[in-house]
Subunit: 241 residues, 4 copies
């Protein structure tokens, strides 16, 4: 069922897409989980250039963060192992440093979606309040508690975590969260923003085929990434510009 | 009179220009109408890469959104059919996700032009308030009512609609609306903005040759698009930077 | 003394630099004056692509805006002729649409320099208040009155005018004005800004060799322009980033 | 111990990286000190294109700013000589014009870190209040007094100074300061920001291996710089995007 070659390839691809989008930086990481073997693949830590990652660079780990090959996982591997172990719907996990969503980890303001697509996050994006990296299993478990059954969490003064049933979903959700955060920030310069209510969110999402949208976004961003010249700033594109 | 080959070519070109400008994203669309045959051409939905569209990708449809060939129209085709059917001066229609004009669909602030060119929109840009996509003929008709005889409408938490007598006009109007929205947002950081009055708008527009301006903008943006290397961020240029 | 070939070449070069910087757009223009012959060279109007201009595209005009060759001057030629005729120190004139300085023509806030270099404009940047293009000699003369002996003026809801003794000076002054405007806008998000006093400006400028600075900036921006690939967004660089 | 060839090479590389990042502009400079010979290498002044600098362009100087070869140091050499002479831990010094950190030299607001990485600057970034360039040894000594034992200082209406034990440290510290300044500015649009306390900073830094982080950042930015096409805007990348 879980095809390791495919997982490695798609994971490397997603890391390159996030790098192109300027959402990973030097220190972000993405993982995908094989629940049968209780094993994950994760992008390497150690300052590697995420825009150049190949399938063979992906690091297989067990749930204790022990690498099963020569690579080394990033120091914040407990974000991934804790979420993969705790939630059956967290088969893919990204830890990102997105330029706009991260601002909600700095300003005293709760995230509330302001766009139709953003209603994906209408049940909230909880904040992990500790001013520290998630470098131990204990901290990983604390994060799991805070995120609950939500799609994403904010890490104080630091970045975000986005989970999904697969890498396609994680890409779409992360792009939508970043877009909504950016629009909130910019619209605030015009005056008070008008967030969407939970009822509006439900009505909208009842009509939306989230999976199909996510697949199309994957196809589109993959095709842009494939022809990207690896120059920062020349590939970045927006889902809802 | 209505040349189908020309219409397909110009429509694809406009979609590529809007893609270059970052105003379409994955889900925007543009159409042009042939009132004699009551038939429109529309850019395809389904997550296609709008910066790569060719004339043969354009989808011919009737006013019920039924494709007349193998392509598929975007799900929000009723925006286009409703406007084409209702207004003789809406022979071209764009549904965009422009980064700045969209912010007026989020913030509680009415759009008012702040630049000379922006007076094109001095009679207002109405807001379609429903938090939903325009996916049915009923919603299309509701939008037609709201937009009235105006050049553009805002779609709550979503994007914009711009209409014109032809594709050249739609390009110019959409660029001006986006530019004016951007300048309003940025100028607000300096203090209160000073919108132009209806009298000033009238005096200015009495002197301006709108059509000639629009033609020159079309020529300029076409020439930039023609040499665009298809890397996001490397073609985008501004009418009034 | 006034070398026409050199003037054409340098004028075209400055227009290309301003285009690279995103300060001209489709409708800006630059001129240089020969006081002996009472004749100016001006960049062509008519929506030409300013990033591609060659010396032979420059339009020679008399002070009534009459072209002395086959080209056509921009409709706002009276900005240039009025200033060249009235001020011996206005041998070069640029009419720009710079993204940030233009915001001071929209917001109700007087321009005051906030950077050391910006003290070049410590005696103020007056505002031409009419909401119209400067398309007649009368309006040109009104602008001359308003600008007085200053280096620059703001045109309501529209753009800027920068004058200098030569094109090198105009480049430097225009870059500094734009940089200072941008920094004011951005710093305002952090709190109240702290403009430099007239005394501080005088002390700073007494130490500065403005001409040498301007020459170095010219050399630097020329060299960047010479290797520019003509893709919008790939050449733009900042004097004081 | 101090390898002159290596120092020249690494200094030129750092200047090119800062140029790529848009943090130097035409007038910034970087130096590295050899305490045994009381001699520094500094990037040349005179408006050179910092993105093209080679090791042989580096200017050797004594502590009186006298060049030991044919090159010429920048006019603000006293920033470097004063710091190298006064502090054993200031073996590398950068004077930058970074777009966001510079805003803290304009707005009346003290710098306080808002990100985990930014706690590097938790003991403050003092402001040199004089509205002048640091062109004399006296001004250099005044700056030394103001900066004390801190990692960085702000220069009123002008730019920043960042010191480190080596060039690797200076790169990392300068990138972090700029990132934190940018995030403060942007987050302020969302509401009040929540700076990290001194206790939080200490706890975080006790866990962090600053040197290793700095080395990885150096490797990453070097590799991006090595493949940079020298077009402004096409190389710039962020540490924590």
């Amino acid at each position: 069922m879980f095809n390791e070659d495919e997982a490695r390839e798609k994971l490397a691809q997603l890391a390159r897409i996030f790098a192109m989008q300027g959402m990973l930086g030097l220190f972000g990481h993405v993982s995908v989980y094989n629940p049968e073997k209780k094993r994950l693949f994760i992008t390497p830590g150690m300052g590697s250039d995420k825009g150049q990652l190949r399938p063979e660079d992906m690091v297989p780990c067990d749930l204790d963060g022990k690498p099963q090959s020569s690579g080394r996982p990033p120091v914040e591997w407990p974000i991934h192992t804790a979420l993969h172990a705790a939630r059956a719907d967290a088969l893919a996990v990204a830890h990102l440093h997105p330029p706009h969503a991260t601002l909600f980890t700095i300003a005293k303001r709760e995230f509330q979606p302001v766009t139709l697509q953003g209603t994906l996050f209408s049940d909230g994006v909880p904040l992990y309040r500790e001013a520290q990296l998630v470098t131990t299993p204990e901290r990983g478990r604390a994060l799991v508690k805070i995120i609950g059954d939500k799609r994403a969490a904010l890490l104080r003064a630091h970045g975000t975590v986005v989970v999904g049933r697969n890498l396609t979903e994680v890409l779409y959700a992360a792009l939508v969260l970043e877009d909504d955060a950016k629009k909130t920030l910019q619209a605030a310069a015009l005056g008070e923003v008008d967030p969407l209510s939970l009822d509006q969110a439900r009505a909208f999402n009842a009509e939306m085929d989230f999976e199909r949208r996510a697949e199309r976004a994957w196809n589109y961003f993959s095709s842009v990434e494939a022809r990207w010249d690896r120059q920062p700033g020349t590939g970045r594109v927006e889902l809802f510009p």
